[in-house]
């Protein structure tokens, strides 16, 4: 929402991003808190009149994470009439001394396009925008209450991610470019929320012929060092 005053946006339409990261153990998402309000929300924004929705979302992710070329997938548009929440929005605007006539369009009914992003947790420095107090990682099962229907958006994003994980083989976007088989398995386990069998998982992944094997990773541990892989 940077520089709102100088730009012209498509009315009644926004986007919201569920940005997934994996810290080695847990699946997390980025949640921001609006200044002086205690309101938690997904990072999102508006679409400029001459900007594609995808570009707007890309830009939003970049502003919040500093990352370019992120795996980003549009998964649903939330278009119920009752998802508008002018009270919350008014609190946010008032807290920023922006509750002006020119900004009153933000209090109208909004449809929002849901995106999910998969990023490499290690490469990210979450950056609050001018409206936000903080932007932080939250484990997927320890989310605060979010504004409007954002909890619902997260739920749907997670469903889509789960069903796409094996089909589209996108799990590696949550990892550094080189990773071990164990790391990959832990990503699958975190996303699907179930334990997988090591040998079966390994055989399956190798049989798909999508991984390239690299040198071993010596972790300084008292056991055999695992190979590293990258996505072909």
């Amino acid at each position: 929402m940077k520089g709102l005053e100088n730009r012209s946006f498509i009315p009644n339409l926004s986007f919201d991003c569920v940005i997934f990261g994996f810290n080695g153990k847990l699946l997390k998402i980025l949640i921001l808190e609006y200044q002086n309000t205690g309101v938690y929300a997904l990072p999102g924004g508006f679409i400029e009149i001459d900007q594609s929705i995808d570009d707007a979302a890309k830009q939003g992710v970049k502003e919040r994470t500093g990352l370019d070329n992120v795996y980003l997938d549009q998964f649903y548009i939330f278009g119920n009439v009752d998802r508008a929440d002018p009270e919350h929005m008014e609190r946010i605007l008032t807290a920023n001394n922006d509750n002006t006539k020119e900004n009153s369009w933000m209090l109208e009914r909004f449809n929002t396009v849901g995106y999910y992003a998969l990023i490499n947790y290690e490469e990210v420095t979450p950056t609050p925008d001018e409206y936000s107090d903080s932007i932080k990682w939250y484990a997927i099962d320890e989310l605060p209450k979010l504004m409007m229907d954002h909890n619902n958006i997260v739920e749907k994003a997670l469903q889509v991610l789960r069903s796409n994980l094996s089909e589209k083989l996108i799990g590696m976007n949550l990892l550094p470019s080189k990773f071990t088989m164990k790391q990959l398995q832990m990503v699958f386990e975190a996303v699907l929320d179930q334990k997988l069998r090591r040998t079966t998982f390994q055989r399956k992944m190798l049989s798909l012929d999508i991984l390239e094997r690299h040198e071993k990773l010596f972790q300084g541990k008292a056991h055999k060092a695992p190979y590293q892989y990258s996505f072909k």
Copy 2:
């Protein structure tokens, strides 16, 4: 687009429906032709300011097919800037003596929410709306050139339908409530565009425990009569 003049719509947002039907052999979709223009398009429309997008789409399908309670699934929002096509729209409006100042918002950039519907071909009487000359079934591989990016929307709808067909078991929505195993197989073959093995298909469908078996269907043919099934 009935009664445009008396309603207030969300700007820059529309919906378009890919309405699938199955005539016993081929997968078809409903395409309309605007009056006096030679322009072919998907049935679509706009969203009223106090109407959910789903409801708008439902209403659109009902106006075109007369059917209520249709299987309808939102699958994507097309949000590129270059998908606007003011020339085509102007031709349509001019042909209807509607190219007025009040309607000039229709010439702006539009994002469109894509829906696909699955309906029972036999129950439908396609009805043109006030802007359309005709609305007709076209086999999926014999579509005319459609306006804007509508061919692209159809392509994407077909992809989503294919990937959802087995997963969500929605194929029966293209059939009457009672159908034979052979009919069901032909739906799958038409959608997936590939031959399936009879015995494997039958065993799979029965093992899913989603079908209820009814009385046999005597077609007056010189062979064993097949059972009829319905979706549980």
